[in-house]
């Protein structure tokens, strides 16, 4: 109890001293705010993208790719293979009695974004059963594209991100004009691109392969039957995945890449903030050496002094963490981000969640504690008799 009283008393004195060291204390707060701001923002990209990808999949929907292909874009299926796949057992039927399957072609289209920069948007050619395979798709403006006609429908997220894709706009693909005739929502990654009739698209992109087949299964349990029929067929060399598994793999790969970048950037910034904390706390200890020595002379223990210095650094770190998180939230929360390559892209909203802020606070506390440890030990080991004479 007495030890706690000591710590509270000395910490309170330290904190009351902060206004006299406002400049150096602000350096710690700003340094740590920078670390946490970057960390929270980059992690926000990772988690928001993952959430978007995971929201895209359904367990009762399957995707078939060429064996060994990681993504639809890197997959290629022959016409025969695609037709064999849609004949497999376990696929649901549409109201008209057709199989609920679409043969897909996926490519990237370079378009101008609203801010004037160029970016790649995913263009997906899909089949007539698209509404049966993807019942979440809803036309919210205009109408559905017609088969055999160069028409496109654009996802609502893509419409917010790109210029020249409103209903009635003309998009130039391979030297021919395609008209945007509708806007759709799907609540997932599909909304980041455009849809059109696969056969029309294949005819425009002469020689391009069919990339994948997406099927709606009769039920969640039909997957094994569907997969076994395809993987045991000697004429086919394909990978069959539940859609959830496919997007989970995509998310995992992206998370790995972003994780490396995040840790690298935040690590470098953390080292900088660490030195700022170290310097500030050394300065704090140095400027209060007589006070600390006086307290030690009166009978305060070394432990109380160490903990009080650590507490001060922790407080500055936590303030920095919340400042950084607040700035990240103000600047980036809700921002639409387009991440893409030459062949495909995804548009998603960045969310600065409480979980990310908590991660930022943990990082900040680690930086604060590490930065204050040596100064705290120095404060505790201050030779009392010598320090008392240093007035």
């Amino acid at each position: 109890m007495i030890a706690l009283t000591q710590i509270v008393a000395v910490t309170a004195m330290n904190l009351r001293n902060i206004p006299q060291r406002l400049g150096s204390s602000c350096v710690v707060v700003v340094g740590i705010a920078g670390v946490v701001g970057v960390l929270v923002s980059v992690l926000g990209i990772s988690t928001s993208l993952t959430d978007t990808l995971l929201a895209t999949g359904r367990v009762d929907r399957a995707i078939v790719l060429r064996d060994g292909a990681d993504t639809e874009v890197s997959s290629a299926l022959s016409v025969d293979a695609a037709l064999t796949i849609v004949d497999a057992p376990g696929i649901a039927r549409t109201a008209e009695g057709y199989v609920a399957a679409t043969i897909n072609m996926v490519t990237g289209v370079n378009l101008e974004r609203i801010d004037g920069t160029l970016a790649s948007m995913t263009l997906r050619g899909t089949g007539a059963a698209v509404f049966d395979v993807r019942p979440e798709i809803e036309i919210v403006a205009g109408r559905m594209f017609e088969r055999g006609v160069r028409e496109l429908i654009v996802g609502a997220s893509a419409l917010e991100e790109f210029a020249g894709v409103n209903i009635g706009d003309i998009v130039s693909l391979r030297g021919s004009d395609w008209t945007v005739v509708g806007v759709f929502t799907s609540g997932d990654a599909l909304e980041s691109g455009m849809l059109t009739d696969v056969e029309t698209l294949l005819s425009a992109y002469q020689g391009a392969p069919r990339n994948s087949v997406t099927v709606m299964l009769e039920s969640e349990d039909s997957f094994d039957e569907f997969r076994d029929a395809l993987t045991t067929n000697p004429a086919l060399t394909v990978d069959v995945l539940r859609e959830t598994e496919y997007y989970s793999r995509q998310a995992s790969f992206i998370n790995d890449v972003i994780g490396v970048v995040t840790n690298f950037v935040a690590g470098i910034m953390a080292v900088g903030a660490l030195f700022a904390a170290l310097n500030t706390m050394y300065q704090a200890v140095s400027s209060r050496s007589v006070e600390i020595a006086t307290l030690r002379a009166i009978g305060f223990g070394q432990g109380g002094i160490v903990v009080s210095v650590l507490c001060e650094a922790l407080l500055l770190a936590v303030v920095g963490a919340f400042v950084g998180a607040a700035v990240a939230w103000a600047l980036f929360n809700g921002t639409t981000i387009n991440m893409g390559s030459v062949n495909a892209s995804i548009v998603f909203r960045l969310e600065v969640s409480p979980g990310l802020v908590a991660q930022g606070v943990v990082w900040a506390c680690a930086v604060g504690l590490l930065g204050a440890l040596l100064p705290a030990i120095r404060a505790a080991r201050l030779p009392v008799a010598t320090a008392l004479r240093a007035v």
Binding site: M13, N17, L295, A297, I298, G299, G301, A385, L388, V391
Partner: protein, 231 residues
Amino acid sequence: MTALVSIRDVDKGYVRGKQRVEVLTGVNLEVQSGEFLAIMGPSGSGKTTLLNLIGGLDKCDKGEVIVAGERLHEFSSGKLARWRARHVGFVFQFYNLLPVLSAERNVEVPLLLTKLSGRQRKQNVRAALELVGLGDRARHKPGELSGGQQQRVGIARALVSDPTLLICDEPTGDLDRESSESVLELLELLNRDHGKTIIMVTHDPRAAEHASRLLHVDKGVISAEPLGTAA
């Protein structure tokens, strides 16, 4: 009668750069309970070092330092800190008050190391401030008080936990004559009327006259000096 302070054959030196400097050599000293001892001597003579050994702020290299029955030279740093909290009140030349705290909060600091309740602490603080004549300055911060008043707050802080021994290191060294006299009269009162044992280091012969015994330290050696002869 057992001495409150007993120093036997004490050596103490410091390493400065590559050289070792002996500050005290073979020092012997006894201080009885209730004494008001003044220690004088030129700068660097070892008087503050002696005071630090008695107050448990430093440890001797050789010999024995026994205060209030405890063999301080055998104590660990933590044990010395706890012992100081119980037995010693320090009065410093430059007051060493904590500038962000009010007078009453400064005086309360040593009581944070006791098991007293908040209410009891407040009562003791009020009594100590009344005793040094600063009952009406309790809420003032050190920067709002004169040097003499600050030193009185320092004395109130030193005696608030009712220590066995008051250690005063040049308590009037930063004060004008009038404030010095007032502080010294207060120390004399604490010694005479409240039975406090006081050991005071000073450069000021007139300050030493308030003590009941005077010692002279020079080149690490102690010699007794009759009162009234310090020059």
